[in-house]
Amino acid sequence: MNYHSPASFAEASALAADATGITRFLAGGTDVLVQLRADIVTPDNLIDIKKIGGVRDITRNADGGWTLGVAVTGAEMSEHPELGRDWPGLVEAMDLIGSTQVQGRATLAGNLCNASPAADSVPAMFAAGVTVTVTGLGGDRVVAVEDIPTAPGRTSLGKGELISAVHVPARGQNAGDAYLRFIPRTEMDIAVVGCGVNLRLEGDTITEARVSLGAVAPTVLLVEDCANAIIGTTLDQAALEALASAASAACNPIDDKRGTIAFRTEVAGVLARRAAKIAYARAKGEQA
């Protein structure tokens, strides 16, 4: 195994492009190292991107949006004084992952690139409209997060490409987000169903919404029917029912050790309702 610690994303990209065999980028390592130790994947090349300048920075942009370095950890997001005020759903989603120790390492970019449909931060990123900068041999391009995962464990990133920054949009006025997951326990578990909701109000009426579902399909889903079910409403009972139905209808889950098709389909609707209520309350400026 060859270990590399490039000083720039261009160098990291070149290393990956030239590499033969299995290549893995090492940010937090909470997936890569686990797979390595469990003898699931033994990479030929391990490219550590934590030593690239700025990868631990959380920066407020001029437009009010945020840029997060790819090695920013869940703990650093949770402890940031302002990020969570803008995007409580996104920060809480990241904070749900793993233990205190894992929080000290795990990253948004890693969670996205691991491409698990059950990844907790990914539905929250989908809902928030997060974009990422992808660096490749041909330079940088900005990609919406929903265009990154393509199947369990697979991404749209080509050989020599890696994520070099995470961009969270400006929060703006009268808006709120929320993420809920279902697990049989209270922590240290993996989502059986996850749901992210991000919405904006004018008065009491929802004018913009993005709703995402996790662990109910081969990839995290951005569900337009769910958004349409609540846009133009005040999130009354009828809207909540329509949202739940749309969420359940969007599910294409599997029966496995973590849950059944029937359970996931049902609970997707339940979580959509509950998450939407929290996001709505936050948009109204209420504590939730």
């Binding site: 469990a38 049989p184 209270t186 359970f263 339940v270």
Partner: protein
């Protein structure tokens, strides 16, 4: 036993001092299984079958052996061929051998088929990939009911013992039937009869420390083994048999132990490490990973049960009948007999009949797990009693009190009970504020009782006094629940010297007589009894020295508060002689003073408990929260109450896991789907309420201080108590464990 053997007023017993091994454990100084190292040590790794059932056609180890880092490769051929196959549990050494290294067939996913010793753990792991095994995959079965069906694949012909009735499938290997009275006549007398079927899944003991050992077996035939175990003499005896050595040529030392719960009462990797060491002529360390622990060490049995109980309108049980089918993996040993005997044991029944089956399937060999077999039976029996109470509008504690066994009751499994404390636990439950506390909407309350036999077992203890008057106590039962503290308290009570002046050591197999495993809730009872007797043996010698010094007969000297004193005014007028004054010159007054005791104590004294549980079910997701939990159990006499409470709480916690989320999940291919803690869901701390405890003390006449074992009874009622609480909260009877959210949500939907 004579009454003057009894003691009821205590100075040390019943106090809560810090445990002697506490500092070592919180600072990391304690040495566990994987903490041992030896010069020239190799690392072992084990190749495991990916198939649930397969004939091993050929194993080619030549490529692995050719690797420069590899120093030994072994298969079944490297073990003794003199361990005979016998039916049932008679051939337990053969069963263990077959389990630690497969013979003609791989019998479950994870079954060991070969092993490697190499210069590093990584080299050993990679070398396994170079071993070529040709399998002929066979049909498999993992479900207990399917394993008994006529068309089930046969796991091994000839494994059934004499007890199995003719015409049963060869996978049924032991049969138990017991009871008394006439159950049909009893059911005819009942106002209401309920008959239901129940299912529980296999669960793992879930100890935090994976199995680990360091073995050294040289050309001189002398072996050393360091391992994490609940009983090193059984390890010594078993490994010696499997390796074909003299027992005394193998010295086994028990490491500190990070949990066992019954799962470390046998061997898995130890004989493999010894065989590798013998072949490589180097010490070999083997450490399991968590996936190996799940796939290849003992979970408990899965069960399928039918229970029928008849009750009169006033709550009197007129008859009870149970059929308990337990699946214990690809070997005999599933405790269907225990399940059958324990199920109805809390009750005074005129008509009772119980049947237990021991059934083999393509799963890992079951191992003991706290009160093996009892929790499942209690789940079925106590659920039916709860249904009867609900339908007849009766209070669940009153009904249990009405039918409770007491001193003199003929137990469902045969003998008459001596002094027991079930009624006292029920009365304490009824009086507890928990039972009167109002429930919130969506919450339900469950009550259940539980029984366990408790055990004595072979025991040796040695106590040596030092010149300064301190004492060293050598016991042979690994400390799995704070037993060093309990032993020191009991020795302090007899000797009359401070707790802190007694050092308790878990001695190795070469330095103490035989000791049975730390199981059967026997340690505080049996090692405790032996400690008291060994200390009394030393006290007799101390009194002899005092008598000689004073020039009076030894029967004119008694022991009081750590001093020899004249037994009465007629014995003479001497100042009390403290222990240290006797030991200070013991070398010149007759030699070193020690006390010993060896026996197989028979008076363990059965134990009962009653649990009260409140649960809340989310009707939209089926998720359960246990909101309040109270354990009430008879300890006979709590030597160290904090550790008794710990046992109660631990039993409840493991029961919560078993009831709600823990289960072995097998795929269609017979492979275990959830062999890591992410998907094998034991409760985390935040899942649990504070577990309240009440220690009831009804002294056991079979122990000098009245001790009853407390390690196991605490896991018997929880499955039932939680199921009753959940069923009452959800308004639908849950008859299958675990009561996972998908299962509860489906039941709610079916219920409309």
């Amino acid at each position: 036993m004579a009454l003057d053997d009894r003691k009821s007023d205590f100075k040390f017993v019943g106090t809560r001092p810090d445990r002697p091994d506490g500092l070592d454990k919180v600072t990391g100084r304690a040495k566990f299984g994987a903490d041992a190292h030896a010069p020239g040590m190799l690392h072992g790794a084990i190749l495991r079958s990916p198939h649930a059932h397969a004939r091993i056609v050929k194993i080619d180890t030549s490529k692995a052996e050719a690797l420069k880092d590899v120093k030994a490769v072994i298969t079944r051929a490297d073990f003794s061929d003199k361990v005979p196959f016998k039916p049932g549990l008679e051939g337990e050494f053969w069963n263990v051998l077959e389990n630690v290294m497969a013979g003609e067939k791989a019998l479950y996913d994870g079954h060991a088929v070969a092993a490697v010793a190499a210069t590093s753990a990584l080299a050993a792991r990679d070398a396994l990939k170079q071993i070529e095994v040709e399998y002929e995959v066979l049909p498999h079965v993992t479900d207990v009911d399917k394993a008994m069906a006529p068309d089930a694949p046969v796991i091994r012909e000839g494994a059934a013992d004499y007890s199995v009735p003719e015409g049963m499938h060869p996978n049924v290997v032991r049969y138990h039937e017991s009871g008394h009275g006439d159950v049909e006549a009893g059911f005819a007398e009942a106002d209401l009869v309920i008959e239901d079927s129940f299912v529980t899944e296999a669960t793992h003991q879930g100890y935090i420390e994976p199995h680990a050992c360091l073995a050294s077996l040289g050309n001189d035939g002398k072996g050393e083994l360091w391992c994490c175990t609940q009983g090193h003499w059984i390890v010594q005896k078993t490994c010696a048999a499997l390796l074909g050595m003299e027992t005394s040529n193998l010295r086994v030392t028990a490491s500190e132990i990070g949990g066992g719960f019954g799962g470390k009462t046998t061997v898995f990797i130890e004989p493999v490490a010894l065989a590798l060491s013998r072949k490589a002529n180097r010490p070999v360390k083997v450490v399991m990973n968590r996936s190996e622990v799940f796939r290849a060490t003992g979970p408990t049995s899965s069960a399928s049960m039918d229970v029928k109980i008849g009750m009169k309108k006033d709550g009197t049980i007129t008859a009870a009948e149970g059929i308990f089918r337990l699946q214990g993996g690809a070997f005999p040993g599933a405790p269907g007999d225990m399940t059958a005997m324990c199920g109805f044991a809390p009750y005074n029944l005129t008509n009772v009949r119980q049947v237990g089956y021991d059934v083999m399937a393509n799963r890992p060999k079951q191992a003991a797990y706290r009160a093996p077999g009892a929790p499942m039976g209690a789940f079925a029996v106590e659920s039916v009693i709860d249904e009867l109470c609900n339908k007849l509008g009766l209070d669940p504690i009153d009904v249990r009190l009405k039918n409770a066994a007491y001193e003199g009751t003929k137990a469902s499994y045969g003998p008459r009970y001596g002094r027991i404390g079930l009624v006292e636990t029920l009365e304490a439950a009824k009086a507890h504020p928990h039972y009167a506390a109002p429930l919130k909407p969506g919450q339900g309350r469950g009550i259940a009782c539980g029984f366990w036999f408790n055990h004595g077992g072979e025991t040796s203890v040695s106590l040596a006094l030092s010149e300064d008057g301190s004492a060293q106590l050598m016991v042979g039962t690994p400390d799995i629940g704070g037993s060093r503290a309990s032993m020191a308290l009991m020795a302090a009570e007899v000797l009359g010297i401070p707790y802190e002046n007694i050092r308790v050591t878990v001695a190795d197999t070469a330095t103490l007589g035989y000791n049975d495993v730390s199981h059967g809730s026997r340690v505080t009872y049996a090692s405790g009894l032996a400690t008291i007797k060994a200390a009394r043996n030393a006290v007799e010698k101390l009194c002899e020295r005092a008598a000689a010094k004073w020039g009076i007969p030894v029967d004119a000297v008694k022991w009081e508060d750590g001093c020899a004193v004249p037994s009465g005014p007629n014995a003479g007028d001497f100042d009390p002689m403290p222990l240290a004054d006797i030991t200070t010159n013991m070398g010149s007054t007759g030699g070193p003073i020690s006390g010993h005791f060896e026996a197989t104590p028979e008076g363990a004294g059965v134990s009962f408990g009653t649990h009260i549980v409140d649960a809340e079910v989310d009707p939209e997701t089926g998720k359960t929260a246990v909101t309040r939990y109270t354990v009430i159990q008879d300890a006979g006499k709590a030597i160290h109450p904090a550790y008794v409470e710990g046992q109660y709480q631990g039993g409840a916690v493991q029961g919560i896991g078993w009831a709600l989320n823990e289960e072995y999940i097998y795929g269609e291919d017979g492979r275990l789907q959830n062999s890591i803690f992410l998907d094998y869901r034991i409760p985390v701390a935040s899942d649990l309420p504070m577990i309240d405890t009440v220690i009831v003390e009804v002294p056991n006449p079979g122990h000098p201080f009245g001790v009853r074992g407390v390690g196991e009874t605490g896991i018997v009622p929880p499955l039932a108590a939680i199921a009753n609480a959940v069923s009452n909260a959800a308004g639908v009877r849950m008859r299958q464990l675990p009561m996972s959210p998908p299962r509860i949500l489906a039941a709610l939907k079916d219920n409309g």
